[in-house]
């Protein structure tokens, strides 16, 4: 059987992230009998609150409590984790921006394997763990087999596992601070300065009921007019996926996704958007999703309610005309 299984718990303002219980479920997929340990770092009261929340769900909670972790940067935490995580362990961590910073380097420091952005686990035989991940913007999946005899760091896509419902833990709290700090406070080649909050922009798309959202399929800035016209006819607001912001065709405040805004409209019209998991991660509140895309294999059709295979450059002006017609 594999080594000890850890779940790294992300938290914000004293509240544990939903991924804590998702990753607990993921850990049970690897080994249903596993005694799973939560790993949480932070400082002072906020950390205490988080530990209290998660303790009932886990057998053990390992905490690192230090003022240098009041805002956690990976360069500070990584050496601490490398000191306390036993050889051969399995560490699960939510696949998002913090893991992008922390995990690849942590696997090197632990001399362990690394599997990024896992969406499912297939099986485990001896020291060979088989997992499923996606490549080519989600167009294709792969099975990867990993030798975990030296341990493994696995980043897990959020939303891929249903949270573990039962609270079956003993919740024993173990303070690992002094062990993590043995050898001194890691520092200081990367120093955190501040977080600059995103601007809201002229329209707050997080409050919109109808979103007309445009992606790479629009192809050229000159074509953006057809989107403006449709949005105006429908009485909706315009949002977009990442490539449109990268191209500077719309302001960052219009971007839907994990690195943009989280929206919760009633109706979401996805025009020429392929539907990467980062984009879908920004759509909450189960809106009615209509996807129009010329690629029948676009992942967006998997999650949309209604789909149309069409080139938006041709279809959107027709749709605008039709709506104008019925509105008189």
């Amino acid at each position: 059987m594999p080594g000890k299984i850890f779940v790294y718990v992300i938290h914000r303002e004293g509240t544990a992230d939903d991924t804590a219980l998702e990753l607990l479920a993921a850990a049970k997929k690897i080994d249903p009998e596993a005694s799973v340990t939560a790993l949480v770092a932070g400082s002072d009261k906020e950390l205490e609150n988080v530990v209290k929340q998660i303790a009932p769900s886990f057998n053990e909670v390992w905490k690192i409590d230090h003022e240098s972790l009041s805002y956690i940067i990976a360069e500070t935490l990584r050496p601490m984790l490398a000191r306390i995580i036993p050889k051969g362990s399995i560490l699960l961590i939510p696949h998002e921006h913090f893991s992008m910073d922390l995990s690849p380097g942590l696997s090197i420091k632990l001399e362990a394997a690394f599997i990024p952005d896992v969406v499912a686990f297939e099986d485990i035989k001896e020291n060979k763990l088989t997992a499923i991940r996606e490549e080519f913007s989600g167009q294709v999946s792969t099975h990867v087999m990993c030798d975990i005899s030296q341990g493994v760091v696995i980043s897990v896509r959020s939303g891929a596992f249903k949270p573990e419902a039962t609270a079956a833990g003993k919740g024993q709290i173990v303070d690992k601070t002094s062990e993590a700090l043995s050898g001194g406070i890691p520092n200081g080649k990367r120093r955190y300065l501040e977080v600059i909050e995103a601007e809201t922009g002229e329209v707050d798309i997080t409050k919109s009921d109808i979103l007309v959202s445009v992606g790479r399929g629009i192809e050229d800035q000159d074509n953006m007019d057809i989107i403006y016209e449709l949005a105006e006819t429908m009485g909706g607001d315009i949002s977009c996926s990442r490539p449109i912001v990268d191209a500077r065709w719309l302001d960052k405040s219009r971007q839907v996704g994990t690195s943009g805004k989280t929206v919760k409209p009633k109706v979401y019209l996805a025009l020429g958007i392929s539907g990467s998991f980062q984009h879908l991660g920004g759509i909450k509140g189960s809106p009615f999703i209509i996807a129009i895309n010329k690629n029948p294999k676009a992942p967006i059709f998997q999650i949309a309610d209604v789909g149309i295979i069409a080139d938006i450059l041709e279809f959107v002006p027709e749709l605008t005309g039709k709506i104008e017609e019925i509105k008189g």
């Binding site: 360069e75 921006h97 992008m100 910073d101 995990s103 690849p104 380097g105 696997s107 090197i108 420091k109 690394f114 599997i115 990024p116 952005d117 088989t130 490549e135 080519f136 167009q139 294709v140 999946s141 792969t142 099975h143 990867v144 087999m145 990993c146 030798d147 030296q150 493994v152 080649k189 120093r191 501040e194 977080v195 995103a198 109808i210 790479r216 429908m234 009485g235 909706g236 405040s253 994990t258 690195s259 109706v267 009615f288 209509i290 294999k297 059709f301 998997q302 999650i303 949309a304 309610d305 209604v306 789909g307 149309i308 295979i309 069409a310 279809f315 027709e318 749709l319 709506i323 019925i326």
Partner: protein, 263 residues
Amino acid sequence: MEILVCVKRVPDTAENEIIVNRDGTDIEREDLVFSVNEWDNYAVEEAIQIKDKVGGNVTVITVGNDDAEEVVRREMAMGADRGILLCDEAFEGSDGKGIASILKAEIVKGKYDLVLTGAQADDGAGQVGGMLAAMLDWPFASLVNKIEVIDDKKILVGREIAGGNQEINEIDLPCVLSIQTGINEPRYVGIRGIRKVASADIPVHGANDLELSPELVGPAGSLVKRLDFFVPEPGEGAKMLEGNTQEILDKLVEILKSKGGIK
């Protein structure tokens, strides 16, 4: 400043539909359009902009076969000063750690202040930069969307975190950064630019040149192995509207009205 940018030749997913071959061992590569990984292109542009401000050299490097040379040349046409191709049969089948080991071996032979990678490539892993930094014991930041040179010892780095917020850090050189798309607007490369570098010398370094022990790379050095490619069983998915355009429009407008999609 001496800047190294690590790039990769990948199938262009915006241009191609990726299809798995019959026995699931690979994707169909015959008709694919290949280009430089989108993220890497932003990294090269950023390196050139830094060089234009503070001086120095930009070197573009890739691990790959002979075909990979074309992306190095393309990035040199953007304005990079040098290119290096790391190519050896022994490198084939390396996992992310193997690729990082190969790059490290080249980097320690040079004298670089800043190493840039794309935040991710076609496999969506986003791992090589972070591994490389850990192997070199250099500081690292991922998803970088802003770089300002403070002096020859340190830089100011913005990175993209949740909700479109930006985390600002000060980082000592040398360091490794992985670059997010949107950090700049990569310049256009025309035919003339490509012609100018057509005969530029791109040295090829193999395992021996890098004094790289074989057990670190290739299948032998890989803890993670891809077993197959497959297309997951589609779920129920969307209700697809079919028929001629008029019929589709009629149905769609009805749906929009009933769901509150028309004000």
